[in-house]
Every structure is written in structure tokens, then in C-alpha cells.
């Protein structure tokens, strides 16, 4: 028994060491340079940086507002009504997640650009063209595209929260005379609080620190883009470090507020004996209304992707509603470009490594916290979830700083000459929360008595783990791994900042570089984006099939 406990503590120690070195040290490195009061004061004296911070915050608030409205409406429809194509509609909502929003931005520019689809349509109707993406139009375009990309995360949280509400709660309210509106306001909404907070805080932090979308729209006055642009003059100008510290502080504050609010959240489920109240079936034409709402949102969310596909398959897509001249040329151009094929191989290599690292670390953290209940496992669990609250830009900067500051780090991951481990570990650290939550949720739903029974029938601790525990949480581990893999494949911040030589570019950096090439760049980048989109789509569908409704647990604190 003693050696078994020792081994468990040894494993936990290993994970804590890993998280300490590759999670806390990068953050510490950024703080070490950026936590300079003079530097921060200088930052706040500079109108451009203050405007950047304000814009980032405004984007975060507006995006979260849009996300909340869209996802609450859809979650209520899904929970309440049974309608034709209900489960398909639920899966189709994941479509917006199949591309990082900055690739969606490519498609969106195709729709709303001066020579885009909407203006072509207006022209056909006899109206003068409007420059949708000038002035504040860019701001709203960034918010809109981020909202369309992020709302599924909030939606999944809300659907899970609604599913956990004991129907007896609302029935009791109805029994005491509450109207449907009062039942929603007084019972369901308060009981959904944990789901709302979890979904909205992830959206808020994500959109506050988003780099790719404003970058693609050329909206440079946001903190993340200012940090990215400051990379080239990092040695002479340490302001980006201070900007990253501010981003970290704001994100940490948002995370803490959400955590504190979650603490007082009431338990919605009634535990044993809950009977699902079932959904209401609508009749005649009304039965198509919920599905139509899902269809409209999915269509809107899918529009940038459709535009991207159109762009990828046409020789010219400018000033017309539909693309002209169907062609595979862009795909040929994309594949023949020296950037593309190596970037696919690179991304596969980095992402597979990241997946294995994230799965190993995530599984150990979940086991230590949920099953072994070791002292210190709470810290490991908290640390493992930290990446959800820390912007990707912060980590990327931290790793960059580490490679300069520590000689062992520059040996292990040299961003110029050998960034394989650098990118793999950077990807992995940021994907550990998905694995931890997926596996923890599996372990929590699996009665511990099943493992006790295995021990009781002669299996040692290792055989119990292999024969009982792991098979029972395999689906969860696969889903966590799939998420880790697919999100690593299309990771933006680390890729744009850490991959510095063309031969080491991952897909996203190659996509960005490709899109900047004048002439055939947009078409080739679109073709490359289409490939990436289907790749991530297939992964998410596999995840949704494996985990069903529980998929929302992956995006929880």
C-alpha cells in the first residue's frame, strides 16, 4: 500500500514539475520583464496602447453579449422542444468551430468587402455599394465573426446546465402559480448560472485575447495585435511584455470573478431519481420553427466558410454574388507552394506530440484529483485549468522569453533552429484543460465501486487501472485527445509567434503567410483553409458522436 501511494505521489510530483516548468515559468518570465511599473505607466501614457486595450475590452464585451443572446435562445429551444432534425441541428451548430476565426475572416472579407458578395447583391438591386469594413464596421465585423465562432462553447455549457435542472424544480414553480416567464426568470435562469458563467467567461477571455481575427481584418488597434507587431523590435522595446502583463491581469481577474460567482451557484440536479420531463412536441407548421432558428444561425455561422469554399473553387470571386469559373487551380497552387506541404507535416508532428503530452498529463491530473485524492492534487487540477484563463499570447511570449533567459530552455527549444518541442509543449500545455475536464467528468460519472470491485476480485492497482478504469473512461480520453489534437492543428497565437523559420511553419502560420501573398494568395489560402476546415470538422463530429450531450463538459472550468 505504501509503495503504491509513493508511486502515485511520484507521478503527481512529475506532473506538478511539468506544469511548474512549462506553465508557471513562462508566465513568470513574462511577469519578470513586464511587471515594471515605469513600463506600465509609460504604456498607459501612450494613447495608441490605451486605445488597443479599450478596443480589446470592447470586442470582448460585445462578442460575449452576442454569444450569450444567440446561445441562450438556441439552448432553450433545444431543451424545450422536440422538432424534426433536432439532433442534426445540435451537431450542425459545431460547424462554426471547424475553423479558427481568423480563417473565417478570410471568407467574411469575401462577403462584406467593398467588392464582396453583399455589395454585388446591392448593386443588382440598384443600390450604391457600402464600405462595410471601414470605420467602426471593422470592429463589428471582428465581434460578429468571433461571436459566430465562439457561441457553440457557450451553447454547449447552457444545454448541459439546462439538462441538469431537475424538472421537479420548474414543475413545483408551475404548481405554485408561476407563469412560464416567471419560471424561466426565477427558477431556470438562476439554476443555469454555472453554465452561463462558464460559457461567458471562456468567451470573454478568448475574445479579449484573440489575435488572428483582428490581424486578418487589419484591425491593428487591439492589444493582441500590438503585442504581435511588437515582436520584431522586442529587444529594443519591452512594451509588448507590459501589454502581455496587462492582458494576463485582466484575464485572471475575469477568471477569478467567474470562479467566485460559480462558488455560490446552486446545485441544479436532484441526484437520485431524476426523471427527464421530456421535450414538448410542436404540431403543424410550428414544429419547424425551432429547426428554422437553428438553421438560420448555422447558415450565418457557416457563411464565411461557404464563402471560403467558393473562393477556393473559383478563379475569380470579386464583385459578383456567386463565384466565377469553377477550378481546382487554387488547390494545386496551395499544394505546390513551398509553404504548404511541409506545414502539414509539421503541424501533424507538433499536434501528435502535443496530444500525447496533454493526454498523459491530463489523465494523471484527473486521476490524482478525482480518484487518488492525493494532497496537492487540487493544486495540480487548478494549475491544469489555468491555461483557460491565460491568453495564448502570454504563453507564446513566455516561451520566447524562456529560450532567451535560460540556457537549458534554449537547448530544449530553440525557436529559430529547432522549435519542435517548443511548439509541441506550448500546444500541449494549452490543451491540457480539455483532457483534464473530459477525463475528470468520465471518472466522476463512473462509480468508484467498480474499481473497488476489481481490487476485491484480485486485481492489483495497475491492472485495475488498465482493465477497469481506463476502459470505462476511454471515450472521454479519446474526446480530450481529439480536442487536444485538432485545436493544436489549428492553433494561432503560439504558431504565429513561435514558428520563425519557414521550414518549421505549422498550418496556421503558413495560411497567414499565404493569405498575405498578393495575386493568387487569397485563393490558395482559401483552398488550404478548406482542407483544414474539413479536417477539424471530422474530428469534432467524432467527438460529438462519442460523448453525446456530455461534450459540453469539455468546455467547463
Amino acid at each position: 500500500m505504501r509503495s503504491q501511494t509513493f508511486l502515485r505521489y511520484l507521478l503527481l510530483g512529475g506532473v506538478l514539475l511539468f506544469l511548474g516548468v512549462f506553465l508557471l515559468l513562462p508566465i513568470g518570465t513574462v511577469l519578470g520583464v513586464g511587471c515594471d511599473l515605469q513600463l506600465i505607466a509609460e504604456l498607459f501614457r501612450n494613447r495608441i496602447y490605451v486605445e488597443g486595450l479599450w478596443n480589446s475590452f470592447a470586442i470582448a464585451v460585445c462578442t460575449t453579449g452576442m454569444v450569450f443572446v444567440i446561445s441562450l435562445g438556441l439552448a432553450l429551444l433545444y431543451d424545450r422542444y422536440d422538432f424534426p432534425g433536432r439532433s442534426f441541428a445540435n451537431t450542425a451548430l459545431l460547424i462554426p468551430m471547424v475553423l479558427p476565426p481568423f480563417v473565417g475572416a478570410l471568407g467574411f472579407k469575401q462577403l462584406l468587402g467593398y467588392h464582396g458578395v453583399l455589395n454585388a447583391l446591392l448593386g443588382h438591386l440598384g443600390f450604391a455599394p457600402v464600405d462595410f469594413l471601414s470605420g467602426s464596421g471593422v470592429f463589428w465585423a471582428v465581434c460578429f465573426i468571433e461571436a459566430l465562432h465562439l457561441f457553440p462553447i457557450c451553447y454547449l455549457n447552457l444545454v448541459t446546465a439546462l439538462g441538469n435542472i431537475d424538472p421537479a424544480m420548474t414543475e413545483a414553480a408551475a404548481n405554485l402559480g408561476a407563469s412560464p416567464w416567471q419560471r424561466f426568470l426565477k427558477v431556470r435562469l438562476p439554476l443555469m448560472r454555472s453554465g452561463i458563467l462558464a460559457g461567458c467567461s471562456i468567451t470573454l477571455i478568448w475574445s479579449f485575447t484573440e489575435l488572428g481575427t483582428p490581424l486578418m481584418f487589419g484591425f491593428t488597434r487591439t492589444t493582441a495585435v500590438q503585442v504581435f507587431n511588437g515582436l520584431t523590435e522586442l529587444e529594443s522595446n519591452p512594451i509588448p511584455y507590459a501589454l502581455v502583463v496587462i492582458m494576463l491581469a485582466v484575464s485572471a481577474l475575469l477568471y477569478l470573478i467567474a470562479k467566485m460567482a460559480l462558488k455560490g451557484s446552486p446545485a441544479a440536479s436532484g441526484g437520485k431519481g431524476i426523471v427527464n420531463a421530456g421535450s414538448t412536441t410542436l404540431h403543424s407548421w410550428r414544429k419547424f420553427l425551432p429547426g428554422t432558428a437553428f438553421g438560420v444561425v448555422t447558415f450565418l455561422a457557416g457563411l464565411p466558410h461557404i464563402a471560403l469554399i467558393c473562393c477556393a473553387f473559383s478563379t475569380r470571386y470579386s464583385g459578383t454574388v456567386l463565384p466565377e469559373n469553377f477550378t481546382f487551380e487554387n488547390f494545386q497552387l496551395a499544394l505546390s507552394n513551398a509553404l504548404v506541404l511541409p506545414s502539414i507535416a509539421n503541424s501533424l508532428k507538433y499536434s501528435l506530440l502535443a496530444m500525447f503530452i496533454a493526454c498523459a498529463a491530463g489523465l494523471l491530473v484527473a486521476l490524482a484529483a478525482v480518484r487518488w485524492r492525493l494532497k496537492g492534487s487540487g493544486i495540480a487540477d487548478l494549475l491544469a485549468m489555468l491555461p483557460l484563463a491565460v491568453p495564448g499570447v502570454v504563453f507564446a511570449f513566455g516561451f520566447l522569453g524562456m529560450s532567451v533567459k535560460f540556457s537549458w530552455a534554449s537547448l530544449l527549444f530553440d525557436p529559430v533552429n529547432n522549435p519542435v518541442w517548443l511548439l509541441s509543449i506550448a500546444y500541449a500545455v494549452r490543451r491540457i484543460p480539455y483532457v483534464v475536464r473530459a477525463v475528470s467528468s468520465g471518472l466522476e460519472q463512473t462509480p468508484e465501486e467498480l474499481e473497488n470491485a476489481a481490487r476485491n476480485f484480485g486485481a492489483g492497482p495497475f491492472r485495475t487501472l488498465v482493465k477497469v478504469t481506463l476502459p470505462l473512461v476511454t471515450a472521454n480520453l479519446i474526446v480530450g485527445g481529439l480536442f487536444a489534437f485538432s485545436f493544436s492543428m489549428l492553433e494561432v497565437s503560439d504558431s504565429l509567434i513561435l514558428a520563425q523559420k519557414q521550414e518549421f511553419f505549422p498550418i496556421t502560420k503558413a495560411l497567414y503567410e499565404l493569405s498575405q501573398i498578393l495575386g493568387y494568395g487569397t485563393g490558395a489560402a482559401s483552398a488550404f483553409g478548406v482542407w483544414a476546415m474539413f479536417f477539424l470538422g471530422a474530428t469534432l463530429c467524432a467527438g460529438a458522436l462519442l460523448l453525446g450531450k456530455k461534450i459540453g463538459a469539455v468546455f467547463k472550468f
Partner: protein, 322 residues
Amino acid sequence: MAEVSIEKLTKSYDGTVKVLDGVDLHINQGELVFLLGPSGCGKSTLLRILAGLVSADSGSIFFDGRDIISLPPEKRRAAMVFQNYALWPHLNVFENVAFGLRMDKVPRKEIEKRVMGSLEQVQMEKFIHSAVTQLSGGQQQRVALARALAVEPAVLLLDEPLSNLDANLRDTMRREIKRICTERKLTTLYVTHDRREALSMADRAGVMHNGKLAQIGTPDEIYNHPADGFTARFLGDVNLLPCGGGIRPERLKISEEQGKLRARLLERSFFGDSCEWLFELPGTGKVLVRELGAPVRSIGKEYFLDYDEAFLIPAPESGNEK
């Protein structure tokens, strides 16, 4: 089958809440011993310590004279039937029952034979290749029992195995378990809070209270001669008499002519084969009388109640109040 000795077993949680407080218990080879007690009295903890799933703070456990307290669960050969059965949903019936035999590295032919034998004993051989998730509660309970029987354990541990079954199935399973334990001469420790289950099946039964074994004996001994008021009250209804003693409701006789007590009839509860009468004693409260059949009596009328002093038992702090 082993002989089990438990000596001075203690267990506390957080160093303050004492769950077991120096428990001594001896179970003879092939004996079916029940542990009874209210929730939180420590009976399930005792069972889990025997299985090695919870560690004791101090004390010893001997199987056939060998101290097994420091052995891990997988080395104890104390097969347990869990309250929620704990059947592995990713394994079918055969694989569930064969699990312990595989761990024991039993040859394949032997595994097949023993799994079939165990399933036949619980009349589940038809379901050998079924998924456990497709079985009813009663069927799952039988598979859990077969799994425990297949490993031919030194001690069989049963943790409220019938609590999730409906009343009819519970009666059937009681008889099945009793038959199997007797036929196979299994040394068995059975934990329950159902006194009828314990009294009807046990060779001996112990009542636990506040982490201690308050009394252990045959069902007749503990029911008719309880050591204290708690045991008396836990095993059945007890009336507090004016003399300070207690008596079971079925030991009181109702008469219209004579008796030791005079009481006014307040209420009648009819159960088909029997009847319960609630009387009020002047000054000392209410008493319950249980009779077979259902004779005609008048509510509000005064009757005499009589009893044999040989049946007096320790009275709980409060008598039988309804």
C-alpha cells in the same frame, strides 16, 4: 472457507469522528453472521475494512489465524457483493464473473466451468453472454453473487445486497442466498439495516451502535433477550411498562376480565393476518398490542392487559409511541 477473528478494530475519520470503536467479532467457519445497525453505525465500514478497501486505524483481522490486516484487497480472498452490485458495464456477464478467476490465473477450461457453475447456482446461465446493462436489478444482483461465488472466497461479504430490489424479489433472493451459503458452507458476513432479513436468515446476528458491537447472538437471543434498550428497540417495537421494564407488543394479552394493567383502547390497525391495537395507560403513555387475526373490540372502551414477566426486556429511553 475461513474462520474470521476481528480484534479491537478501530477507525475514525478526520481523527475525530469514531466510526469503529474497538470492535471484536468472531465468525466460525461456514457461519452466516449478520451485522445490523442504523445508518452511520459503522457496519459498512467494518465490511470494507475486512475487504481491504478501507484501512483500519488499529486492531487485527485473522483469517484462519493469519493476520491479514496489512494485505492489499486483491490478496485477501474476501469476495464482496456490493450494494449497487458494481458490475463492470464494459464486460458482459461471462467476463464479469470470470474476472476474479483471470486475476487468479485459473486455466481457461476451468474458468469456463466455474463461471457456468456459479451462474447455474444463481439460475443465470441463460444470460451468460448478455450485456450486464441489459439485465434487471434482480438479475444483476444474481450476477454479482455469482461473481463472488466463482472465486471460491475465504469469506463472502455482502453489503446490503437486496436493498435495491422490490419486496417480492427480496424475499426470493433471501431464500436463494441462505440456500447457497448453507450448501457451500460459506463463511459469510452480511450487512443490512433490515431486521426481518437478519432475523430470518442469520445463524448469528450482531447489532452495532456508535461504532461498537452492542450485542451478538442467535436471532432468538437478541430478539427475546436484548442486552440493552437500544438493541431491543432496533430489533422491534418495545412498550415501556409502568414497572420500568419493556415488552414486545405480541407478548401482551388483551382481556375484558383481568390483567396486570388497565388501559383504554384508542386505535386499531388492520394488516390482514394480524391486528395492532393502540392503548392508553393512565399516567404512563401508550402501549401497542399485536394479535393474530382480528377480533372485534370497541374503540374507547377500557380493557385489561396481561403479560408474563419472563418476557420483560430492557426498555429503551422512550417507549412505543405511535
